[in-house]
């Protein structure tokens, strides 16, 4: 029962993954491509789950579907791509593209064959097994150095994104409270000593 069901889920998710990734590149509307990419991520998340990597499966939905795809949608809408124009050479480049894809598939099929790839599928664990705990104990102790480097990459990303995309405040009408409070009377009011005219 258990094997039958997981096999069934695997084949459905894998087939859906292949179909939706084909639709990503063939769909006429870029927004629709992005939505099919969401479906792709969702299917691969199911595949992660079947490997009992529950944290990675959930993070894939949490980060990729939740955040990255939002960004993709914004980018697609910002760039205003005319996909029809991009596809004018689709047929011309199809043979070489197909050749490369066939080469990659052949290579991958060769590599993953069990006599070359010495990694075996992970064993199934019981109901009390927690993938997050395993991951956490390894990540924050043995892999603490790569973990801190990840923070460096994130801060570099923040700085690059802001310095490239942020154009500074444009006509912002916000109040600068400290300078309002620091204002001196002399900055606002100028008292002029006008000699009084004498009455005749």
């Amino acid at each position: 029962m258990y094997n039958w069901l997981t096999d069934c889920v695997f084949y459905v998710a894998a087939a859906l993954l292949v179909v939706s990734s084909l639709l990503v590149i063939t769909s006429r509307n870029p927004v629709r491509s992005v939505l099919f990419l969401v479906l792709c991520f969702f299917c691969s998340s199911i595949l992660w789950m079947l490997l009992e990597a529950e944290f990675l499966a959930l993070v894939l939905i949490f980060v990729y579907v939740g955040a990255v795809m939002t960004l993709f949608l914004f980018v697609v809408m910002m760039l205003h791509i005319d996909l029809e124009k991009l596809k004018t050479n689709f047929v011309r480049y199809l043979p070489i593209g197909a050749l490369i894809v066939l080469g990659m598939i052949g290579l991958m099929g060769y590599i993953i064959a069990p006599e070359h790839f010495s990694l075996l599928a992970p064993a199934h664990h019981g109901a009390d097994y927690s993938n997050i705990k395993e991951l956490g104990t390894a990540l924050y102790t043995h892999y603490v150095y790569p973990f801190e480097l990840a923070a460096v990459i994130l801060i570099v990303a923040i700085i690059s994104a802001i310095s490239l995309a942020h154009r500074g405040p444009r006509g912002r009408k916000s109040q600068d409270v400290p300078s309002q409070l620091n204002i001196q009377r002399n900055d606002r009011v100028r008292l002029v000593d006008v000699p009084a005219e004498k009455k005749e």
Binding site: Y2, A67, I132, G136, T141, F147, A151, A161, G168
Partner: protein, 118 residues
């Protein structure tokens, strides 16, 4: 471990069915006779002047990008919180350094005004 997720599978199946069923029913039951005029966009009787889709402002992109970064940061918090009793002060310190770096990034973006809209 997967048996814990059996109910989630059922939930997904029912959810998908609930979404797909009305669409299929509508397609099957409702009358469906499109023609050229019905499918064309309507703009006060004229032909449409321009594309309805306008390019978005680049600031949306910046906000989405900054969101991803802090989203990833929270993703790192989950396993940390779960095993905090096991990894001890070392793990705690590791996360504090991680967080400190991102706080510096946050100060930068705040001070630069990247969080303000207009």
């Amino acid at each position: 471990m997967l048996e814990n997720y059996f109910s989630v599978l059922i939930f997904i199946l029912i959810g998908v069915a609930m979404g797909v069923a009305p669409l299929v029913l509508g397609r099957l039951v409702a009358p469906h006779r499109p023609d050229k005029e019905k499918n064309s966009p309507y703009e006060c009787g004229f032909d449409a002047f321009e594309d309805a889709r306008l390019p978005f402002d680049v600031r949306f992109y910046l906000v989405a990008l900054l969101f991803i970064i802090f989203d990833l940061e929270t993703a790192f918090f989950f396993p940390w919180a779960v095993v905090l009793d096991k990894i001890g002060w070392f793990g705690f310190g590791a996360m504090m350094i991680f967080l400190g770096l991102l706080v510096i990034g946050f100060i930068y973006e705040w001070k630069k005004g990247a969080l303000e809209w207009e």
